[in-house]
Symmetry: C2
Subunit: 376 residues, 2 copies
C-alpha cells in the first residue's frame, strides 16, 4: 500500500551460492573432512537459498543435498539454487539422512555444527550414524556470512530503510495516554506496510521505569508525560535484518534526562566513527565503554556494545568486552551503547554500521537528536 | 485502547510453582539424580516464573537457583517466585554455574535437558564440568507442562479470545487488491491492541496458489477475487499461546473450493469431537486422516493433525501418525487438518482443544463455516 521507496536497488549479478559452497568445501578439504552436516537454518539459507524452518543440509566435495519435509515442497523448488539437490521426506529427516550419507561414495570423516545441534540430535549421530566418524565444528559458515556481498548489503540497507520509514510513520501517534502495546501495534503494522516480511525479534517498547529493563518487550503500561521511551525494533527484507533503537521523551525532557541522553549519544557517535575492520571486538566495545566510564557511569552500561546482523539479528562478530574476534571487513554490526538506572529508566541509541574498505559507514539515518514526543 | 473483555477471569489461588518444583524433585529422586540443569526457557518459566531469554536454572533436592545476566536484574526480581534464589552474573553464566554446583553439598549425579542443550554447551559439561557425572534426560518438565492447571487454562482461553477478537476486527478490511503483508499488518496490530504481548510464531497469510504452502508467512502478493486465503496466527497472554487457522475465499467460492473446504471442516469437526485424554497421538491423528483418505485426498494432507500448546506454541503431545505418546488429561492441543494442491491452493482449519475430564472442549469459537470476504 505504501511501500518505502528508499534504499538502494538490489544489484543483479552472478548467483553467489556456488562460490559460497566452494568456500565451505575449501574449509572441509583443509580439515580433512568429507562432508559437513548443516543444521543451522540461517547457514542453510545462506548456502542454498532455502528459507524453511525444517531441514538438514549435507555439503560434500561434489554434492549438496537439502532434506526437508512435505510442507516445503513448493517453497524448496522455487527457492533452492540449482546446484543443490532437494529431497522431500515424509516421515523423518534423520532416517533419510543416513541413506543420503550412504550415497556419498567414500565419505567417512563427517563434521557437524556443534553450536547448532542439540545434544539429543548429536546422540543420533553417535547411535544410528555411528558408521561415520563425526567431528564437531563451529563457525565455518558463520565466518563466511560476516563479509556481506553487495547484494546482501543492499538487502540490509533496504531493511534499515523500511524500519526507519515505519518509525517515522509511528512517531506522530506517540503521546501520553497511549500504551506500550499500542505503540508496538502501530510500529509493527507500519513495518508490515513498508514491506517487512517478519519481525526479526520481539519489539521492545519500554517506557518510564520500564526503560531500565534492556529487554522489556511491550506492556500495557500507559505512557506518561516525562517518561523516557526506548523503542528497539527491526525489519526483515529478503531474509536480512535491521536492528535499530531510539530513545525519546514523552512531553518535555528534564535536565537529568538530557544529560544521560547526551552521554549515550556521544558514546554512540564515537564508536560508530571509530569502529574498523581489523579491530578486535573488545577494542570496539572499549570506545564507547571507556567514554561512559569517564563520565562515571560505567556500571550503568551493563551489556555489550553490539553484534553482527545479517540473516540473523544476532550473528558474528560480537562487540563485547570479552571478544577477541577480529572484525571482518564487510561485516554489518550494531553500535548500541546504553545506560540504565533502576526506578528511573534508561537510554539506548543503536545504529547499524557497515565495516567498509574505507572505514565505517553508518547505515542508519534516523535522527539522533533528543526528540520530545507529543509535547503540547 | 480496545482490550477484549472476553475470556474467563484468571483464578487466584495458591502459588503453583513450589508444587511444580516438588514434582521435578520427585522425578529426580526416582532416577537417583542430585540436581537437574534446566536450559529450556519455557521450562524455566514454568518452574520459576522468569520470562527472560538468557538463564540457567539448577534444581536440586533442597535448592533452586536461577542464573541470569544484568539485563534481567529488575525483571528477575519481580517475576521469580520466592522459593527460587536468583544470581545475576556479569560475564559468563557457565562459569558461575560451576560455582553454584560446588555449593550444592554432595551433588554428584547431575542431569541435563538433552533436547534443550546445544552440543557446544554439552562440551562445557564434559570439560569444565567434568567433576560431576552428567546424565541426559528429556521431557521431565515438559511432561508436567502438558497438564494445564486452572490458571494456565484461563490464560490460554484469554489468548484464544484475544486472537479471535483480532481476526474479527481484521476481516472487514480483507478484499481483492489488498496484499498479504497488509492483511498481516492489520491482524498483528489488532492482536497488539487486544493485548497480545508477543506473536507466538510468524503470522501466515497465504493466498491463491501460495495457500498450497503450509508455512507460507506473508508476501507482497495482492489478493485476487476467487483466491483461497489461509490465515494462521496466534496471541500470547501471560506467556501462554493460542494458535488458530481459518481459511476464507476472496469474493465468491467455486464449487471445487467448497468441496475441499467441506472435507477439511468435517475432518476438523470429527477430530475435535473424538479426541480424548488417554488416546495415543497416532489414534487422534487417524480420526481426521482416515476421513480425508476415504475422500481420496490422503496424499494432500501432508502434515500432522496437531500439537500441544501452552508456554510454547509447539509442545507435547504430538498428534501425528508416528506418535505413540498417550494424550495427557488437561493438555490443550491443536486440531488442524488441511489439504494442499500445488498451483491451486489449500484449506486448513485449526482449533485449540482442551482435553478435559469430561471429554474435549473446543476453546476456539470463531465460526467454521466458509466465509466469502469482500464479495460485491
Amino acid at each position: 500500500m505504501n511501500p518505502s521507496q528508499r534504499g538502494a536497488a538490489v544489484p543483479k549479478g552472478a548467483e553467489p551460492l556456488p562460490s559460497r559452497l566452494a568456500s565451505v568445501r575449501a574449509e572441509l578439504a583443509a580439515g580433512g573432512i568429507d562432508a559437513l552436516l548443516v543444521t543451522s537454518a540461517a547457514n542453510t539459507r545462506y548456502l542454498t537459498g532455502f528459507s524453511g524452518s525444517n531441514s538438514l543440509l549435507v555439503v560434500s566435495h561434489d554434492r549438496a543435498v537439502l532434506l526437508t519435509d512435505f510442507r516445503y515442497r513448493t517453497q524448496a523448488s522455487t527457492e533452492v539454487a540449482s546446484v543443490v539437490e532437494v529431497e522431500i521426506e515424509g516421515t523423518s529427516l534423520w532416517t533419510r539422512l543416513w541413506s543420503v550419507l550412504r550415497g556419498l561414495s567414500g565419505a567417512k570423516q563427517l563434521a557437524f555444527e556443534s553450536t547448532h545441534l542439540l545434544h539429543s540430535d548429536y546422540q543420533r549421530l553417535t547411535d544410528a550414524g555411528a558408521r561415520w566418524s563425526w567431528r564437531p565444528t563451529s563457525g565455518i559458515v558463520e565466518a563466511l556470512r560476516q563479509r556481506k556481498d553487495p547484494t546482501e548489503l543492499a538487502h540490509i540497507r533496504r531493511s534499515v530503510a523500511v524500519a526507519e520509514s515505519a518509525l517515522a510513520q509511528t512517531l506522530p501517534e506517540i503521546r501520553a495516554g497511549v500504551t506500550e502495546l499500542e505503540v508496538g501495534a502501530r510500529l509493527e503494522a507500519a513495518l508490515r506496510e513498508h514491506g517487512s516480511k517478519a519481525h526479526p525479534f520481539e519489539t521492545i517498547i519500554a517506557s518510564g521505569e520500564r526503560a531500565a529493563l534492556p529487554h522489556a518487550r511491550c506492556s500495557a503500561r500507559e505512557l506518561k508525560s516525562g517518561d523516557l521511551l526506548i523503542v528497539d525494533f527491526g525489519a526483515t527484507t529478503a531474509g536480512y535484518c535491521s536492528d535499530i533503537t531510539r530513545t525519546f521523551v514523552v512531553g518535555r525532557a528534564s535536565d537529568q534526562q538530557r544529560d544521560a541522553y547526551d552521554i549515550v549519544r556521544e558514546a554512540n557517535a564515537s564508536a560508530s566513527a571509530g569502529v574498523r575492520a581489523g579491530m578486535r571486538g573488545r577494542d570496539a566495545d572499549a570506545i564507547a565503554r571507556d567514554y561512559i566510564e569517564r563520565q562515571g557511569l560505567g556500571p550503568e552500561f551493563g551489556h555489550s556494545l553490539g553484534h553482527g546482523i545479517g540473516l540473523e539479528v544476532h550473528e558474528a562478530p560480537r562487540l563485547s568486552k570479552t571478544s577477541d574476534a577480529v572484525l571482518t571487513a564487510g561485516a554489518v554490526v550494531t553500535i548500541e551503547p546504553g545506560i540504565y538506572r533502576e526506578g528511573w529508566g534508561g537510554v539506548r541509541i543503536e545504529d547499524d554500521v557497515f565495516l567498509g574498505p574505507d572505514g565505517p559507514e553508518v547505515l542508519t539515518t534516523f535522527p539522533r537528536g533528543l526528540m520530545e514526543l507529543g509535547a503540547a
